[in-house]
Amino acid sequence: MATEEMEQLVRREYKEGFVTDIESDTLPPGLNEDTIAFISKKKGEPEWMLEWRLDAYRQWLKMEEPSWAHLDYPPIDYQAISYYSAPKRPEDGPQSLDEVDPKLLETYEKLGIPLHERAALAGVAVDAVFDSVSVTTTFKENLAEAGVIFCSISEAVRDYPELIKQYLGTVVPVADNYFAALNSAVFTDGSFVFVPKGVKCPMELSTYFRINAANTGQFERTLIVCESGAEVSYLEGCTAPMRDENQLHAAVVELVALDDAYIKYSTVQNWYPGDEDGKGGIYNFVTKRGDCRGDRSRISWTQVETGSAITWKYPSCVLRGKDSIGEFYSVAVTNGRQQADTGTKMIHIGEGTRSYIVAKGISAGRSDQSYRGMVKIGPRAKGARNFTQCDSLLIGDQCGAHTFPYQEIGNSTATIEHEATTSKIGDDQLFYCQSRGISEEDAVSMIVNGFCKDVFQELPMEFAVEAEALLSVTLEGAVG
């Protein structure tokens, strides 16, 4: 059969089989081609985008869920998940801070989150939050002036189809892995950032994003493109605990850096880790990859991971351009029954490429944590350089900390160094602090923060302060 006919047949199938009421706001659980058509239609997407999604879905059907990670969780029923629900209307949320769970507010207090942001984070109807709308507008004007495009991925598909066609799926192909394929089929939220040639984004996109963080979704798709000489710093997530009813999260983030471009991507993730037995926590399966396409380009990942019951996440860099640089700074904290399998991949392809990895893992309670990383040096990556340091800190005798670094080196001019240590907080260190009148809990928090310093200093300043506070909150009750 000719390809054309085939395509027509395929297209007809879902048109005829389309039964779901387009007007409804939430899809019943289940995943099939109709679901995807529904999402695509709801988002007002062009035909090619739908095709792209369906292609991903069909490939996903043929794939197997990966089982190599050092994680233990019950099988996920992908047909029991609802893949679309319209954003909450303002009147559904709490109308003022008085209606918000006092425990949540207490945590905000501990984290030192500015008063005016607390309401937004707690999901208080936006109209009730002072000023945030006008703040947003100002930001938007500033960005537009600089020529930076910053919008939701759905808007981008409609308004900048050429850019999306050019870049979407080029870093993380639709069938890259099981969760990326699922995301490609059903993604509904996420952001698009485009920084044109030579432009340094006038503000850290974090500042803007924070206000809007309340509506982060289950299947986010983020695409950031920096043209030659452009620069941007982007922060996703938030130190504040996020209330979220969706258990499965499968995000995809793609970064593209052309010649001399610099993208700094920071993540603070503090989703619900589940109760004491680990029940009900978020499963976070994320594919993040940056492509240093241009010469002398640089991509830097910084992450502070404290939430989620299951974390499966490996922000990576493909160092294609000559003399390009990839960086990965990570602090992962697990407590209770949390499990995290996280790390990075640095793929050195171009000459003179450099990568730098600092990963700090802290396990407490009955949690289990693994660093899994890969450094690959291709035959053409002359003079490539990598330094990796991954340290684990164990708090309590019921937790686990593991390191699985892969090194594949195919070039004699490369220099690769890897160091890893595992230890606990020394009794002598604690004694020293306590003899100076510092409480045990404060001492632990101080030592842990010192342990993480190399990573925190990479965070935008206000987040670094909060991240330190966040660490203490997460480890509360882990000692003593």
Partner: protein, 447 residues
């Protein structure tokens, strides 16, 4: 015919030809065959074999040798010049004429597996396959299915064995390639002390397949130095596993020195089961041409207050591929552990490749564990420093490469072996390392 079927066919023919044997042996053999049949040869999709492709073995046609003829003159040139007790095997078959069992001290048993089985099969049946069972890998299953020969070493409690015990495995160059599946059982009684050397070598043109499994038991307070000197012919396929079980206060030291073989895979595992047990792994591998050398090591800290230290070095030239996978595992509640691991690799050519994976898997908090791995080339500043002292660049490279290997070789307690390996590495280095003169002088000194 599938790859597995060829081997199973050979196995069937052999079983029919074989005489009666103990029921336990027949049962284990069958379990091995069934397991191998079920698993087939590992592929690169198996995590344990991610970087090692064994198709060359799977698709090979290997017969089983039926004699142990080997020219004594030739054997003499291959044999380690050490005053030792020695068992020699030719293509897996015991060669009585090339062995030296005279004057074995009291309390030491050194016998070919076949003889030990004939003497007292029940005593062999206990340990055989207990540590390296058919579950371990398709090759261990294959070994169990085929095993007929090997060595049994038993050292009575409190015995200190002065001379090393050498197991020499010779590989012959013949028209028909052969395979051997030896099994080595070592039982070191409490507070005994001994040195065992497994030495693999052979005729230059050989293209055989050796699949050896060693099981080592150290009772309380036993001290064992275990050398593996692998100088197999460059066409040989070499798959080996050493599984060690250590009781309280025992000390095991492994020297894993690999120079030969076309495709080499070593698995070294130590179970530290009693408090105060310690294990030391020293390894050196040198690969050139298209050699593939894969070293997998695993230390299991199953008891508190145990210690491990590991240092592996690799030198790779031409299109050689090296693999290092080291794992330190600390069981829950195994507190007060120290586990150190270091792996350094030197790439001498643009096409050489190394895949390193040092792993830590830790379930206890009061531990001190670390690993470090580096890969790189010779330090340009060190070369410069030597040149300013009037040494030409090629010699400087050679000396620095030897110095790199020397960091492992200086740990080797038997000087004769350390020197032999050092000379072998120097001799193998290509001309751009210009050590020919030095090697000649050193060899002359020896003669």
């Amino acid at each position: 015919m599938s790859d597995t079927a060829t081997f199973l066919e050979t196995l069937k023919a052999r079983s029919q030809a074989r005489g009666a044997e103990p029921t336990w042996m027949a049962a284990r053999r069958q379990a091995g065959a069934a397991r191998f049949d079920a698993l087939g040869f590992p592929t690169r999709r198996d995590e344990e074999w991610k970087y090692t492709d064994v198709r060359a073995i799977a698709q090979g046609n290997f017969a089983l040798a039926d004699d142990a003829d080997f020219s004594p003159a030739k054997a003499a040139t291959l044999t380690l010049p050490l005053d030792a007790h020695r068992l020699t095997f030719v293509d897996g078959i015991f060669a009585s004429a090339l062995s030296d069992l005279e004057g074995l001290p009291q309390g030491v048993q050194l016998a070919p597996l076949s003889r030990a089985l004939a003497d007292n099969h029940e005593a062999v049946g206990g340990p055989l396959g207990r540590l390296t069972g058919v579950e371990f890998s398709p090759f261990s299953a294959l070994n169990m299915a085929f095993v007929e020969e090997g060595a049994v070493i038993r050292i009575a409690p409190g015995t200190v064995v002065e001379k090393p015990l050498i197991l020499q495995f010779l590989s012959r160059a013949q028209e028909q390639a052969v395979m051997a599946h030896p099994r080595v059982l070592i039982e070191a009684g409490s507070r005994s002390e001994a040195t065992v050397i497994e030495h693999f070598c052979g005729e230059r043109e050989a293209r055989n397949f050796t699949n050896v499994a060693s099981e080592v038991i150290l009772e309380r307070g036993a001290i064992l130095s275990h050398y593996k000197l692998q100088e197999a012919p460059q066409g040989d396929f070499h798959i080996a596993s050493i599984h060690v079980e250590q009781a309280r206060d025992s000390r095991y030291t492994s020297y894993n020195l690999n120079l030969g073989g076309a495709l080499v895979r070593n698995d070294l595992i130590s179970d530290l089961n009693g408090q105060g047990a310690e294990t030391h792994f020293y390894g050196l591998f040198f690969g050139q041409d298209r050699q593939h050398v894969d070293n997998h090591t695993k230390v299991n800290h199953n008891a508190p207050l145990t210690f491990s230290n590991e240092n592996y070095k690799g030198i790779l030239d031409d299109r050689a591929v090296g693999v290092f996978n080291g794992r330190v595992y600390v069981k829950k509640d195994s507190q007060k552990i120290e586990g150190f691991q270091s792996n350094q690799n030197l790439l001498l050519s643009d096409r050489a490749q190394i895949n390193a994976k040092p792993e830590l898997e830790i379930y206890a908090d009061d531990v001190k564990c670390s690993h470090g791995t580096t890969t790189g080339q010779l330090d340009a500043e060190a070369i410069y420093a030597l040149r300013t002292r009037g040494i030409d660049e090629a010699t400087a490279r050679g000396l620095l490469t030897l110095a790199f290997a020397g960091e492992v070789l200086e740990e080797v307690a038997l000087d004769a072996i350390a020197e032999r390996v050092e000379l072998a590495v120097a001799g193998k280095l290509p001309e751009r390392f210009n050590l020919a003169g030095l090697v000649e002088t050193a060899s002359a000194l020896h003669d």
